[in-house]
């Protein structure tokens, strides 16, 4: 049982401390980008990059909670869509609306996460199906709400989080609000996963549900909480992505799989029990870096897709191989 095996490098005498390959991958990709395009080393270059990756990074770190508990959350993309569509519908261009809309959306997110968790825990519907159903439902709700086309804009106060930069900062010149959000929520999610009793129980449930139950872990409550965390981070990701890019009717589609991919690149185990928040955030960085690098290489889109797919498979295969060898 791996409640004790938190992702710290196993200090054995025979081998060097293991570094999660995702960190190597990110550093390598970023170096390659800088070599290709020195402008990336300037603050506008890397800050834009971080700004771009923030929504996915926060989303993946939240989705990791469900993955570590042994489930999947496919509804997160549709929660992002609902957040953006709902906010634009409610805002009706009133800059003051942001202060109640974001809390309201977080409330809606919490309810959705709660429903996901209850359905999985008590109705015993596999999480893949339960959240797939939720995804379809929420996409339908967003479509009905908007009538198929956005009916409003997001006010600048709402877009502040995803779009605006603090300028004239010493050393780094500019600091996007999104990057501050990334750091703040990244630390909160890291703390929750790796420094609390809840985090330990999450690992225990994902690793061996029966054992966890026998050890006195409130399995249902832990599971439900994981879905709530995941849904809340999806709302935050929606706020940031909507802020960065504006309203579109299917803004979140595809993000659920990207979030899972980022977690897996970061070494998370798909059936639960293992996963790290910093590594997952690095996984998100790696995904976006692959995209940027291939773009810089000027490859045609089909070639880019092939290379992107191969790098993904390679990264996960390497992570799995390393894990097997280290016996963790």
């Amino acid at each position: 049982m791996s409640a004790q095996s938190l992702p710290q490098p196993a200090a054995t005498k025979r081998s060097l401390p293991k570094i999660n390959p995702v960190y190597v991958l990110v550093v390598a990709l970023i170096l390659a980008i800088i070599v290709m395009n020195p402008a990336f080393g300037e603050p506008t270059g890397y800050m834009n990059f971080l700004k771009r990756v923030t929504a996915l990074a926060i989303l993946s770190a939240g989705a990791l909670y469900v993955i570590v508990s042994g489930g999947f959350d496919l509804s997160v993309g549709s929660i992002m869509t609902l957040t953006v569509i709902g906010s634009s519908m409610l805002a009706s261009n009133d800059p003051n609306s942001t202060y109640w809309i974001i809390p309201l959306m977080l409330g809606i997110g919490a309810v959705i996460g709660l429903i996901n968790g209850l359905v999985v825990s008590y109705l015993k519907v596999p999480s893949l199906i339960a959240t797939l159903g939720m995804m379809i439902t929420l996409n339908g709700v967003a479509f009905m709400w908007s009538g198929g086309a956005p009916r409003g804009y997001l006010p600048d106060t709402f877009r502040f989080f995803g779009r605006y930069n603090i300028t004239d900062v010493p050393v780094i010149t500019l600091l996007p609000i999104a990057v501050i959000c990334l750091v703040v929520f990244g630390v909160i999610l890291w703390w929750g996963m790796h420094r609390t009793n809840f985090g330990r129980m999450l690992h225990a449930v994902g690793d061996n549900q029966q054992a966890a139950r026998l050890a006195g872990v409130p399995v249902e409550r832990v599971r439900i909480s994981a879905f709530v965390v995941s849904a809340l981070t999806a709302v935050l990701a929606g706020v940031i992505l909507g802020g960065r890019a504006g309203v579109s009717v299917d803004i979140g589609s595809g993000f659920e799989l990207q979030a899972i991919t980022a977690a897996v690149i970061g070494g998370a185990q798909l059936l639960g029990g293992r996963g790290s928040v910093p590594a997952t955030i690095s996984g998100a960085l790696a995904l976006e870096a692959i995209f940027t690098l291939l773009n810089l290489l000027g490859l045609a889109q089909p070639v880019r897709l092939v290379v992107q797919g191969l790098i993904l498979i390679g990264a996960v295969a390497l992570a799995t191989y390393q894990r097997k060898r280290s016996g963790r």
């Binding site: 395009n37 402008a39 506008t44 198929g148 086309a149 930069n165 579109s248 810089l296 889109q301």
Partner: protein, 385 residues
Amino acid sequence: MGNLTREEDVKKFILAAAAFGMLTGAAFSQAPNFDDPAEFAKQREQLTATFNGPADQMYVQYAGDSMVDTSAFKKDAPWTVCFSNAGVNNPWRVVGFTNMTEEVKLHPEIGTFTHVDAEGSDDKQIADIDDLLAGGNCSVLIVSPNSTAALTPAVEKACAAGLPVIVFDRGVTTDCPVTFVHPVGGYGFGIQAAEHIIANVPAGGKVLMLRILPGVDVLETRASGARNMFKEAGLTVLGEEFTDGDNAKTKSIVEDYLQRGTIDAVWMDAGATAVAAVEAFEDQGVDVPVVTGEDQQDYLQKWRDLGFKGIAPTYPSYQWRTAIIAAVQTLKGEPVPGPEWVLPQPAITQDVLDQYINEKMPPLHYAMCGCEDMPTYPNAWGGTE
């Protein structure tokens, strides 16, 4: 944008096309040609041609003099107008379908308006048309085909059943319908945007082409039309990138290109993500160069507010009104422009920009809707008075 935004539509379309191709094997003679010089020249000419009909009602104007005799279809009211719709799955189609339902209200002779939505699926649309025919209540059938090849047999079947058929937006490869209503076309769209860019960037300027997806006829012709013109004018195309109609992706692509060097113009095959492209320049603190778009409100307003050199070619959504008008004329036995009813396809330029901006309308309302003269405007389109 034009009529296909959502990826799944296109995936289904491609799958259906592939399946159809496999079934018919080498006999599949309708190989798509998205770079047809004759069609290119024809559409280029039509852009500046004079159209017949009242100048203030573009939705009833038509090119050429050829008319179809419909006296055989004359029928006493009330009529049942049946409409098989490819889908209402993007903002352009939402606006168009509203145009259509509001137009229906203007004709008291239409007793029943039956709408079936194929949700972007060829199979469902074929089944829908079968059901409508089996029901036997339709006086006329309007079809907005999901894809050309797959829907042709279904349309032929409806013609064979003796129904007058009106096709609009995307076409079919049979001339059995009474008429095929459509604006000038994809090449025309590409030409208008490209001409504007060529006129406004210095010789040898660098153009980034942003496209939604490959493989869709109405979008491919826009791109090939523009590409030809850029080549002719000696402009450098920095790249052709696919955005999937996604704002975030569009913004990232433009940012990446900006990091690598300057961009003199952005050409877009559809306007839904034009604002995201403009914001990429804005957020980098770079002057916004020529960025082409389409007639949706968010782009028009951004263009006015920032004062860059924009242009909005259109794929007018008023053709949805025209389809109803054609059906009504057919059932009255009046001559209808045909076998193709070619509608004007104006571009919104700086001179007329202000008259198309209406801040009370939703951001993705398509301004070239020809709907301002209807009694339910603007509320029915989501606007406020």
